[in-house]
Subunit: 237 residues, 2 copies
């Protein structure tokens, strides 16, 4: 008897974006190096990203009202600039720099892998990034999403269950008919707790080549893939 393939039940692939589909660290390092030679671009990128979870936590805790990630990125940026000798940047420059998150480059396998998966599945984002950010990013990088879903639609950030269940509900699916694809085990664990399938993507250099990340498999995930192309292989796309 052939064991049933979980891939047969899955209709929707919902992708985490920052780190999973796009290389935020490398993209920000390249932009900081080109705009501000002499600034420690690696430290700048890491500090900007490190401010992200505490900023979302302020919203979750009710200390801040519902806030788009663009605005959280800007709050973190404003705190960061003096530490990197950039306190002199004017409003227009800060605004433009903050939009680097709309200009992140995809990992080299992302566009081709997504295009293969799209032929069989509905593929969408499920990101804490706001809709405008995700749409600008997709347009620039030619990411072929069928639909852009965001924390903004559900007014809740991942790992709130409302986001994972909300993505399935948008497509009138049961949780087990959807799969979250992400490079972060905590995101996947939260999706799994909601009944979604999960696929882990290795992104060992998410925090830069100098700081390799543990990408060990967790057997609780439905799939474990080296990259999005490999996931397409595993799903016979």
């Amino acid at each position: 008897m052939t064991p049933s393939n979980p891939a047969d039940a899955i209709k929707l692939l919902a992708f985490d974006v920052f780190g999973t589909v796009v290389d935020w660290h490398g993209s920000i390092v390249r932009e900081i190096e080109s705009r501000f030679p002499g600034v420690d671009a690696d430290a700048f990128a890491l500090a900007w990203r490190a401010g992200y979870q505490p900023a979302m936590q302020r919203v979750r805790a009710g200390e801040l009202g519902w806030t788009l990630i663009d605005d959280l990125h800007r709050m973190i940026l404003d705190e960061l600039l003096p530490r990197f000798g950039l306190a002199h940047l004017d409003e227009a420059s800060r605004r433009e720099l903050n939009r680097v998150w709309h200009r992140l480059d995809p990992w080299p396998d992302a566009v081709a892998g997504l295009t293969r998966l799209k032929a069989r599945y509905t593929i969408c984002t499920l990101s804490n990034g706001n809709l405008g950010l995700l749409a600008d990013m997709a347009k620039r990088a030619a990411l072929p999403w069928d639909c852009i879903l965001s924390a903004e639609v559900f007014r809740a950030y991942k790992p709130d269950a409302a986001t994972y269940l909300g993505a399935a509900r948008v497509f009138d699916l049961a949780p087990h008919e959807a799969m979250l694809v992400a490079a972060h085990q905590d995101d996947l664990a939260a999706a799994r707790a909601c009944g979604l399938h999960t696929a882990y993507i290795e992104r060992a250099t998410e925090f830069g080549t100098a700081r390799p990340k543990d990408v060990s498999p967790d057997p609780r995930n439905t799939f474990h893939a080296r990259d999005i192309g490999h996931l397409a292989d595993l799903l016979n796309c």
Copy 2:
């Protein structure tokens, strides 16, 4: 002195979908004729669509809580079936038939016209249809949206100002940097009252070839186009 071209300020084209991009009447007629020979498919399509505004009005008036268009379509369908001798349809058949709204065919000019416009503008939907409906439709018909926006995102139906202003705000734009494209003057008038530019698309056969619609120009619209390809011409795309 050359008068400034409004097209130069516009960055976002937000499209009404039912009737403007897709031919709901023709698509539903074709499906009813093929499933239920003998049923008056033209009358069926018109009655289903005619139930739509009153159903949304029940939500606007607070008589119904927030309801997705899929569910409104289904409520209308259930009322309609006995009138057309189809009261015997079971749950699975009703569910499947209701999804005809996810399978509407685009007008012949839509995909090519949108593709031209996408090269210069961000193009999104701004429809009362729910996200899953719009995404299924786009995937099937290869509509090349940069982003799918819906009443569902704003929890308000057009012509509520929250929808038009919300679409501009998603992209961090002022209202005059966005343009609504629609085949319905009332939708356009509401967008114009919010400060958006407006483009009218002639769809004389929206209600069927037997029932041509008045497609006279309204000089208050920024553009008046025969179809989406013609709009691309007018915008030099």
